[in-house]
Symmetry: C2
Subunit: 307 residues, 2 copies
């Protein structure tokens, strides 16, 4: 659901080079640890574990894990402190993509050039692999932290994922296709479908690093605005970019009758709203000073990217 694997970062504009390189370097460090954390246990059916790992370990920018780790480090924690939560976030993200791609949902055959989960494993197994990835996310939290911290994180993750969070946003997004464009509605959708889980990533990172409540709140505020900026940029790219730039069909939102910022307020006003979200994200990090520089860059990257 948004902010994901649909946009590549391999040839971003030069202003974004720093953050692109940082994400690449992070990915190389995160990947082997993530693969170990989601290693199939002896008690799981091999075919299920394979389907889960097919999607969890699919190539991706790993933006959510990056946000978990950097939020953790910003409040004084270490890379390893953040790992289980980062892996949990990526499992939730993978679960959402597997279910989004199903025939009854977006009915996609390809994701980043690879066959979607149900194309490889069939619909039944894809549904169950998605389900199991969601359960695994909570298991990773519970295994990775002491009980008290795991309990706190469970609340954050369940809220960011559930009926008031990402899944709620997905439902509102589908319902919005049959409704007239409305700014309040599109904001409601974007805040849940994309921004809620991004905010959760930042908040979990802060909790993992032992940050105090104000730090958790500030990082969550940053994440909400980054998620909103990213989704507005996504809306804009769908109407302004070429299929060549995007590496996928454009104009799909309007065709599907999606609730988008441009459909509600036009292109210039959408740009302004996106930049305002980036500024709000930056402002939320002011208290962290220079060490938060890369997160500021990431927020700007959201609006600057060409695909």
């Amino acid at each position: 659901m948004g902010f994901g694997r649909s946009a590549t970062v391999t040839s971003a504009s030069t202003t974004c080079e720093g953050i692109v390189q940082r994400l690449d370097a992070f990915g190389r460090r995160f990947e082997p640890a993530f693969s170990r954390l989601v290693a199939a246990p002896a008690g799981a059916p091999p075919q299920l574990a394979e389907a889960m790992r097919y999607s969890a370990l699919a190539p991706g920018k790993r933006v959510r894990p990056y946000l978990v780790v950097r939020s953790c480090e910003l409040v004084g924690g270490a890379f390893d402190d953040a790992l289980p939560a980062a892996a949990a976030l990526e499992c939730v993200h993978a679960f959402s993509l597997v279910h989004d791609d199903l025939p009854a949902m977006d009915d996609d055959d390809l994701r980043r050039g690879r066959p979607t989960n149900h194309k490889v494993y069939g619909e039944a197994l894809a549904i169950l692999a998605g389900d199991a990835l969601l359960a695994l996310a909570f298991e990773l939290l519970a295994r990775g932290y002491d009980s008290a911290r795991a309990g706190r994180m469970t609340l954050e993750l369940a809220r960011g994922t559930g009926w008031e969070g990402m899944i709620g946003g997905q439902v509102a997004d589908i319902e919005g296709e049959t409704q007239a464009p409305n700014l309040e509605r599109v904001r409601y959708i974007h805040e849940r479908k994309t921004a809620a889980l991004i905010a959760t990533a930042c908040r979990l990172g802060a909790v993992a690093g032992g940050g105090d409540e104000p730090a958790v709140e500030q990082l969550g505020c940053y994440g909400r605005h980054v998620g909103l900026a990213f989704q507005i940029a996504d809306d804009l790219l769908d109407v302004t970019s070429t299929a060549e730039d995007m590496g996928k069909a454009v104009g799909k939102d309007a065709q599907a009758g999606k609730q988008t910022y441009p459909a509600c307020v036009g292109i210039p006003e959408s740009r302004r709203a996106g930049l305002a979200a980036v500024e709000a994200a930056e402002a939320a990090l002011a208290c962290f000073g220079q060490p938060a520089h890369d997160l500021v860059e990431l927020a700007r990257f959201c609006m600057d990217r060409k695909h």
Copy 2:
């Protein structure tokens, strides 16, 4: 996934009357509290909340919540201590039924005489409602207990539900349809698909009531064997009962090529295995003495029931 709403308890044989009445009385007490615990929050799309509540609050025996509450009480806890965990278990159970009924899975139009979730709300919303019920289960644990207890419970619930638990069993069950009947395989399936979540119900109840590790283990052991006995009985009823008794078509397992006890070892040996599981369940409760009488009765009811 088994042990659920497919068998009614309104006209059980007289030997089971006690436990049937107890379950009915429990249901009347649990229902309003459960409905309050899964009340739609302001931040959730109403249509999603309606779909979730449609299945969560559908008529059912509430065996899992009963096991949570009684396990909690057995170790010295109170009804209210068990409520959030009982509600969480029922949400997981409801989620599994919604996804099981999907066209890509069992493709069922009716469940206990009511249209299945996707028949009422469409496939996309049914998939998402199931997802959100699973997330809600963890949210209920995290909201209902102090962080340390919630963290511990999250681990139990995630394991009982995930790739090594119920969902793993569901995958093995589907795969088993194309494999020759094999006792090791059928036991693997039953232990996960049905028994894992029953055991989790008992374990969570014990944790909710502040039980020590041996108590948690004993109640979990009871739950595993009860779940196994129930599933063996289910296998037997599918080959020995009449459609009239069951209120649904019989002989479906053989038709679908399901892995069942009777298919592996025949009817008499299956009966013996079921009774052995009941005895093992009873033995696990010996340390609790007379107060565990109703749980013993419940175990016997599993094998005695006629539908």
